[in-house]
């Protein structure tokens, strides 16, 4: 029990140095899942909703949450990183998701320092794929839980 707390404090200390004290508290994150970018013709395949939380312990990010209302069963979920919040980017880790139109998402991924910096600035997101939307059905950018009042 002691070691993780120390680790979190260490990360917080590093973040404080790197990004300022206001950002050092950003170890809890949250997001809502929205339909991915789509054309009107693709809209019927990318419906649904969801909510996720994520905890950063050291360099380990643990994600958990639920989703529902998908038009087709989920096929998987990914952690991705873009250039900024709202900018899509490549996969940086795989998460597990219930293979159904509703269920849960979970997983833990070790982040590099660059990825932690991206997380703090809101550039990391979770994407849920489904049978009819294999390139993305829902997505949500992780934001500091402290800032999501």
């Amino acid at each position: 029990m002691v070691r993780p707390r120390l680790c979190i404090r260490a990360v917080a200390a590093v973040l404080a140095v790197c990004f300022g004290s206001a950002l050092a508290a950003d170890t809890s994150f949250t997001t809502e899942l929205d339909p991915v970018a789509h054309t009107p013709a693709e809209r019927a395949d990318v419906m649904g909703t969801g909510k996720l939380t994520a905890e950063l312990a050291g360099d380990r990010l643990s994600v958990s949450g639920t989703f529902s209302g998908l038009p087709s069963p989920a096929t998987g979920a990914q952690l991705r990183m873009g250039l900024a919040m709202g900018v899509p980017g490549p996969v940086i880790g795989e998460l597990s998701a219930t293979q159904s139109t509703e269920g849960s998402i979970s997983g833990s991924i070790t982040l590099s320092s660059r990825q932690i910096a991206a997380l703090v600035k809101g550039a990391i997101y979770v994407q849920l794929n489904s049978a009819r939307a294999p390139e993305g059905n829902l997505w949500g950018w992780l934001q500091s839980a402290a800032g999501d009042q």
């Binding site: 789509h38 250039l83 900024a84 900018v87 997505w139 934001q143």
Partner: protein, 710 residues
């Protein structure tokens, strides 16, 4: 050209296209029939040409449907997907309204225009073949006539609109509007677009105020022309409303009773989705309207008869942004400059008495003129865009008129081949001498704008002590403050989340694009928050002087934008991009935001968010109220000081336009329009807000007042 003539012309073109197709090009007997494509030509003219152009080359908010651009976007996709897109997403503002047969006919026409060959089997909803397997993108050269009298499948016949002075009448005791009235508007009037030259959209009336607004009730309503984009400003003088409808229909109504006095259906009729009229103007004994086909009309305010008419620019140019009258001149902008043309976009001025053109200022910096070297060497005919689709404002003391200029076309720099060039005067504020049209100064907010994020909207003029300032806000959601004597940057404030600029210099206002925007290539998806809905769009800000508050309608959505290779010939260009839409992260799917900023220090005083975006300008009054309407049919009054909603009602359709206030015999009224049609402000919520259901018609004028006992 009327839409009927356009349709006939397109039928002829279609027949010629199809004849050529039948003689060569791609072979297929499984896609569509010649009769379908011929019917599709007329359906296209009726439903699509308003956005995509008569020749499928694309216009504002409507990408090219022919040639390399079309093949790039659709070549590797199936005809089934093309059908699904048209049948579910088109036309903007009324998606899903096309019958299955109509959608199929339009698919057939588009395929034929790209050299797909008709066969023996009808195209059906499930027909699926890769577009590039049957179409080349080439436009056939030899074009026979279609069979005459051919019925259009699946579409009800449309009544032909009668044009001209359709209702004769006289406004009795009309008092001519003077320069002094425009400079100091009578309290009970609303004589111009934003009510005063400074663009405040603020009424000094105070009978309706925070303590009694809950008693507000409907006084009367009036059904307006259907079709097109209804975004009107009722202009009010001495108890008469002068109303610009879509289809360039102008009416005079008794503002107390809603009785029609005269009507002039100038035409041409509105095409689906775009082109309305944001504002008429009054001066002397005339009503001025800039029509959707780029003509300026002066009507007799007493009778509605045409006094004079001049061409602003040749077809296919247009105008929607309204006009202002300054020192006896009618000033008008221009739009429809999407495609490569020998006529570049401009602002022009006309003598109010005679219609004689006094001056012209090109909003595209042309070769050999100041700023002409900012287009990466493109010839004038490939300098598209820089439309001015919102009428300007005016400072009588400085004798200067201020206009915003829209983006260059195509939207993305990779498509338009301009590299990192600034492309003047896109994305700029212009300060012009209204007597001569000479440029006094300009400030380019976003050099080389690349994501359809116009900064074309209202310029609000505010004096802060001795300092004369100008405020404006564009689609990127940045609120700008400039010194309006010099054009010097003073301050900026971000009003919604944005990820487009990695830096905005607080000292100079210089913006730095995100890296991938600078290095974009055609065919790449580039993210933009906000997207073309804005941030802020044509729904204008109001300035409430008593509280020094700018109350601003804001929107929150994003797009991925994919630039295409345009046809570089005359008629080419266009927007040359496709889009995908998504909610703005962190907004909980709230697309609407209303915010109040104190002008002095640009601090946000209050804001609230809601699912539906606001589709009207804001009207503030000395009663301490701000009126605003939204996509989901609500019309609201909020307290200026707090943003608290004090009253709301639900109207027949999306509340869209520019609300105004006026008085007659001491009784205050609030007038607002509902409407359909328009670009991104209609298109994005139509797609993203799946629980909002709207009627397919319902363009109305509503007039509210307190009970007569007050």
């Amino acid at each position: 050209m009327t839409s009927r003539k356009t349709a006939i012309g397109l039928c002829a073109v279609a027949g010629l296209v199809l004849g050529a197709v039948a003689n060569g090009a791609q072979q297929s007997s499984t896609t569509f029939t010649l009769a379908q494509a011929q019917a599709g030509a007329a359906e296209y003219a009726e439903n699509c040409a308003g956005c995509h152009g008569d020749n499928l080359a694309g216009k504002t908010n409507g990408p090219s449907l022919k040639g390399a651009a079309f093949m790039k976007a659709w070549g590797e996709r199936g005809t089934k997907e093309l059908y699904q897109y048209i049948s579910t997403a088109m036309p903007p503002g009324n998606p899903g309204s096309l019958s299955p047969d109509t959608s199929a006919d339009i698919v057939a026409y588009v395929l034929a225009y790209n050299s797909a060959k008709p066969g023996n089997l009808r195209f059906e909803a499930g027909s699926d073949i890769k577009v590039s397997a049957i179409a080349t993108g080439a436009t056939p050269a030899l074009l026979p006539q279609p069979a005459s009298g051919q019925p259009m499948s699946g579409r009800r016949s449309k009544p032909i609109s009668r044009h001209g002075l359709t209702v004769a009448g006289t406004v009795e005791k009309y008092v001519p509007v003077t320069e002094a009235m425009l400079t100091h508007p009578p309290d009970g009037d609303w004589l111009m677009f934003r009510r005063n030259y400074q663009g405040w959209s603020h009424s000094p009336l105070r009978q309706i105020e925070t303590s009694n607004v809950h008693e507000l009730q409907l006084a009367w309503s009036w059904t307006m022309s259907q079709g097109g984009a209804n975004e009107a400003t009722p202009i009010v003088h001495d108890g008469i409303i002068f109303l610009g409808n879509t289809g360039n229909v102008v009416q005079a109504l008794d503002a107390k009773t809603g009785e029609l006095i005269w009507e002039n259906r100038i035409g041409p009729d509105a095409t689906v989705a775009y082109y309305g009229n944001r504002s008429l103007a009054l001066y002397g004994d005339k009503v001025f309207i800039a029509s959707s086909d780029a003509h300026l009309y002066a009507l007799d305010a007493r009778t509605g008869k045409i006094v004079w008419k001049v061409e602003i620019a040749p077809a296919p140019k247009g105008e929607t942004g309204g006009v202002i009258v300054v020192r006896g001149k009618v000033l008008v902008g221009m739009m429809g400059c999407d495609n490569y043309s020998t006529v570049n976009c401009h602002i022009s001025a006309y003598d109010a008495d005679t219609g004689k053109r006094d001056w012209i200022f090109y909003t595209t910096a042309l070769e050999g003129t100041p700023g002409g070297d900012t287009w990466n060497g493109l010839p004038n005919r490939q300098r598209a865009g820089t439309d001015t689709w919102i009428a300007g404002t005016y400072d009588p003391e400085l004798n200067t008129t201020y206009w915003g200029v829209a983006q260059a076309k195509p939207w993305m720099r990779a498509s338009r081949k301009t590299g990192d060039a600034a492309v003047l005067y896109s994305g700029s504020t212009l300060a012009l001498d209204p007597d001569t049209g000479k440029l006094k100064w300009y400030f380019q907010h976003v050099p080389g704008e690349s994501l359809d994020l116009d900064t074309v909207y209202e310029r609000v003029l505010i004096d802060e002590g001795a300092q004369k300032t100008l405020f404006t806000i564009g689609k990127d959601g940045i609120l700008w403050k400039l010194d309006r004597e010099s054009g010097k940057f003073l301050a900026e404030e971000q009003t919604v989340f944005q990820n487009v600029f990695s830096k905005v210099d607080p000292e100079t206002g210089s913006v730095t694009y995100r890296d991938d925007i600078l290095t974009q290539k055609t065919g790449e998806w580039i993210a933009s928050c906000p997207g073309p809905e804005g941030g802020h769009n044509w729904q204008a800000t109001s300035y409430d002087a008593p509280d020094d508050l700018l109350i601003i309608p804001l929107s929150q959505s994003c797009v991925l934008m994919n630039g295409q290779e345009p046809d570089m010939g005359l008629g080419g260009g266009g927007i040359s991009a496709t889009e995908k839409f998504y909610f703005m992260p962190g907004t909980h799917r709230n697309m609407g935001k209303l915010a109040a900023y104190r002008a002095a220090d640009m601090k946000q005083i209050w804001s609230f968010q809601q699912s539906a975006p606001f589709l009207t300008a804001v009207l503030t009054t000395d009663g301490g109220l701000a009126f605003v309407g939204d996509f989901d049919r609500h019309f609201k009054a909020v307290a200026v000081k707090t943003g608290k909603i004090l009253w709301q009602t639900r109207l027949g359709n999306t509340v869209q336009g520019y609300p105004v206030s006026f008085s007659i015999n001491g009784r205050q009224y609030i007038a607002v329009t509902t409407g359909l049609g328009g670009g991104s402000p209609e298109e994005k919520p139509t797609d993203l807000l799946r629980d909002v259901h709207r009627p397919s018609t319902g363009q109305e004028l509503y007039v509210f007042a307190l009970p007569e006992t007050h």
